[in-house]
Subunit: 339 residues, 2 copies
């Protein structure tokens, strides 16, 4: 039995305490037919007619628990979503946990439980894991690194290189909820709890689009937000990305917090949204597909790909008063570190 | 250009500094045809007639650089070796790096370079990565989580459940070198540098045994050492593991350090050794295979699997003076945290 209330260095030494921690916390919640804690490496069952796809992501969010999620649920959904936007069906996850000495076992237990719930929702199995314990003062309580393995159709052609002049840019719902939820949870403003993270799997949104002939590219606007995805596209393609300020959905409480604190919602992380670039003539059809789904009812067409006066690779925001401003690439850190 | 000398929080914000860090440090060293830093998830090319295998491992070793390796080379070899002992050919790695604000870029650069060199040696490609930066005082400089993907033959039957009464236990070389090298590097004893980590890939040792009909099971004795592998086998099978003290290879300087500091070499981590359980009649043949390889010239038969007086699941060390003592499962932390 893991009798201690707090994580100790012995929970990471490879011996009995570690074994019990793995059995009674990690395997108890995350157990599934494919998980065998006695194995160093596990065989995967992937459909042979599809391409195996892999993705990895680290999670260092503070606080570890926040309205709408935990570092555990965000780790599962973040990895699931990286696979999903690449057109893949997520199937398996591996989990690397770096735990700080002194973390309350009850907190860890809740986080692993939330991870298990997120994995169930996304229909993925955690099949391999590793735990390390670092001394007090050398970790933020808990850091997670999750690697996802999935599979996609051989004819999936999603790629930034498929993007063409005139394509439409869509987003599946309002932006910035996750970052603001974290910010409020951390700073203990009076507003805390008024915004809930959008942390969720996006598979329902991405699967119908994975092999759709008019869908060029998808990405989830996490760290760095919508503006950073736009910059990644602009940089890779050389096109301008033109976003319409009045069209980008931002929830009222998120907008209020941004106004009070001087943040720009276009740079704030989401954890359950998708940005898609699609052929202009298919934009309405894709919007209709998304809006029929619970996860996509707030989907909007927010801008377009443009050569402007030649390929320049800028991100331009057309403001509500008819002007325009350049959204610069994020440089020094004007934002709270939230993922 | 990454002009700063030290990692700042801006290197983790998703914007320009992060992009440059990834391009100029990670992608520069680890670049390969399969790595595209613009992708969220990457397709893998795995042989269709073999089983995909996955493994994950976290690395928090201090110091980050030590005689015989770095946290980077150990992360590559550790993940490669987890795949290798399962009978797989390692093919791809993913890398999650959690970097502490204030880490010197030059140190990071050396570590990533050593990782690239280890990947080249092991013939694996790093195909996906993620970097996060945590505030000063919330990390040990650098934590790495590496996930490995490989493939093994469909008829590979390595498993602890294949172990039988009377089987022989082999080790591919002396134990404890890695742990002692780290300990000496950390404590700045006068002996520092006299022991070099055994950090290395073990693929050459495992590949000839992966589908050998008399080889039951392999594992690399990392955290918790030989005694912990023996306990894992004893616990899973119910058999006793009997180790012969005079037969277990321990290098002289390692033995000296253990005697001076009161450590038991059987619990000390290796990072380039393999423990194999094989049918007794095949022990000499497998030893001959190993001893013909540079990585296995110090291989020894060190003990056997035994029902003793019934299945009891103990680990017994037969001492040089003819007695025997039980090697208990590692409990509280009598050892330096070295991996």
């Amino acid at each position: 039995m893991v009798k201690d209330r707090y994580i100790t260095l012995a929970h990471g030494n490879g011996g009995r305490f570690m074994r019990e921690l793995i059995e009674e916390v990690f395997a108890r919640h995350l157990g599934n037919p494919a998980l065998d804690v006695d194995l160093d490496a596990v065989g995967l069952d992937l459909p042979q007619d599809r391409v195996p796809v892999v993705s990895t992501d680290g999670f260092v969010v503070q606080p570890l628990e926040f309205p709408g999620g935990t570092i555990g649920s965000i780790a599962v959904n973040g990895s699931v979503n990286d696979l999903a936007v690449s057109g893949a069906v997520p199937a398996y996850l591996t989990l690397g946990a770096i735990i700080e000495e002194g973390l309350e076992l009850e907190v860890l237990d809740r986080i692993v439980a939330s991870m298990a719930e997120a994995a169930r929702q996304a229909c993925v199995a955690v099949v391999a894991g590793d735990t390390k314990v670092v001394p007090r003062g050398q970790g933020g309580g808990l850091y997670l690194t999750v690697t996802g393995v999935g599979h996609r159709a051989r004819d999936c052609r999603l790629s930034m290189s498929a993007i063409r002049d005139g394509d439409a840019v869509l987003v599946s719902g309002p932006v910035g909820d996750h970052a603001v939820a974290i910010l409020l949870a951390r700073e203990a403003f009076d507003l805390s709890g008024s915004v809930v993270s959008d942390c969720a799997p996006v598979i329902d949104l991405t699967l119908p689009l994975a092999t759709h002939p008019s869908v060029r590219f998808m990405r989830d606007p996490t760290r760095g937000g919508l503006a950073t995805v736009a910059h990644e596209i602009a940089r890779a393609t050389g096109f301008d990305l033109v976003l319409e300020q009045t069209a980008v959905p931002v929830a009222d409480p998120v907008r209020s917090v941004c106004e009070i604190l001087g943040y720009d919602p276009y740079y704030l992380a989401c954890e359950g949204r998708v940005v898609a670039v699609v052929a202009a003539e298919a934009a309405d059809e894709v919007l209709a597909i998304w809006r029929n789904l619970p996860a996509g009812h707030g989907a909007c067409r927010i801008g377009s790909v443009s050569t402007g006066t030649g390929r320049t690779g800028r991100v331009i925001l057309r403001t509500e008063i008819g002007g325009s401003r350049v959204l610069e690439e994020l440089e020094d850190d004007p934002l709270p570190r939230i993922c």
